[in-house]
Symmetry: C2
Subunit: 197 residues, 2 copies
DNA sequence: CCTACCGATCGGTAGG
DNA sequence: CCTACCGATCGGTAGG
């Protein structure tokens, strides 16, 4: 029966996924009940199970859609002919725009992934770790090429860059209204300015 | 009866608070049951209620102990005779050290406060907002004094600085082992370097 | 997609 | 500090 579902109306599942991302972002994964979610979609809780197999499936779909988006973009940047510092800037700008345009999904992937069960939990951790290693590699190259300050600690710097961007989560839902373009330029000014030799 | 408790052994409550902070950090507030917590403390769930009134009280205590610590430190910095950029650096260093030394409580205050109920939820939001306004004020002064780049957007910058530091949360529990002192210098190098005119 | 309902688990209380 | 237990709510299923 789970098999039939896939070929049936896929758009209904997308509606559920969108509602789930928003709910998980607002209240957290654990605090969101299937009854909350069903109400948001406009059906009864039991009816959700005609489109999905479980609550955890929703979290899995959200988290891994983000990791695959990030990994694909990283690959395209690695293959480009930009300098290392330009690559860092390109990645930061992409992530900032992602955080602004695809807010709920990114928030959930950044903050609620710890509610994944095994084996997805380990898989998610591995993917994040791989992503950071690729960032490390770019920055290490930038230092070797004399573009980036040699005094920095690479892993700590990757951590700083990534989490500075994750912070946009909270900005987004707050009362502080900053134009996304201004936000992006500001982050680039400070972070790239801080990295540059 | 709630009155007697306060005068009774306060240290037992501290043990519970410490265990709660660690559990809330690891699993999240909602996903931590009073039975989990009791087991960690080494008593039965029902016995917790001889020392506390409710689960929510634990979250309240953790969150507001952090806000009051931050606010007190901010006051001492404001009253000091440092330049604005020095003040920013002093505050960043304090927050970094807090995040390293008092990790569980800071994590919970940064990431789980949204599970507070009213009126504490509004009170917490107000306190955070006030804190950011004080940071805004210092940076605005730094720009006026010609110490800090005039091209930056002040609220977005405060957001960036604060969230770059909150990111230490994840660093702490990860496999990436960076010496706290190196981490601190690295963050200061990039962030203060990025701000400086 | 709904009604009806399940077993499990939750925060918390009574009474000792 | 424990045993025993409460009403509520949870994720999910049966059957239509």
């Amino acid at each position: 029966m789970a098999r039939i579902k896939t070929t049936k109306d896929e758009s209904r599942k997308d509606v559920i996924l969108t509602a789930a991302a928003e709910s998980f972002r607002e209240r957290g994964y654990k605090a969101t009940s299937m009854r909350d979610l069903a109400e948001k979609v406009g059906i009864e809780a039991a009816s959700l199970y005609n489109h999905i197999d479980s609550k955890s499936e929703l979290l899995i779909d959200i988290c891994f859609s983000i990791t695959s988006l990030m990994n694909d973009f990283m690959t395209s940047v690695e293959e480009s002919d930009q300098t290392s510092l330009q690559k860092v800037e390109t990645i930061l700008r992409f992530q900032i725009r992602q955080m602004v345009d695809n807010f709920d999904n990114n928030f959930v992937a950044n903050r609620e992934w710890n509610h994944l069960d095994e084996p997805e939990l380990s898989e998610f951790r591995t993917q994040r770790h791989e992503y950071r290693k690729r960032m490390n590699h770019i920055i290490t190259k930038g230092i070797a090429d004399g573009e980036i300050k040699e005094s920095i600690n690479v892993p700590a710097t990757v951590w700083l860059l990534l989490h500075a961007i994750y912070g946009i989560e909270s900005w987004h839902r707050s009362k502080v209204r900053v134009d996304p373009a201004v936000l992006e330029e500001n982050m680039i000014t400070i972070l790239i300015g801080g990295l540059k030799k």
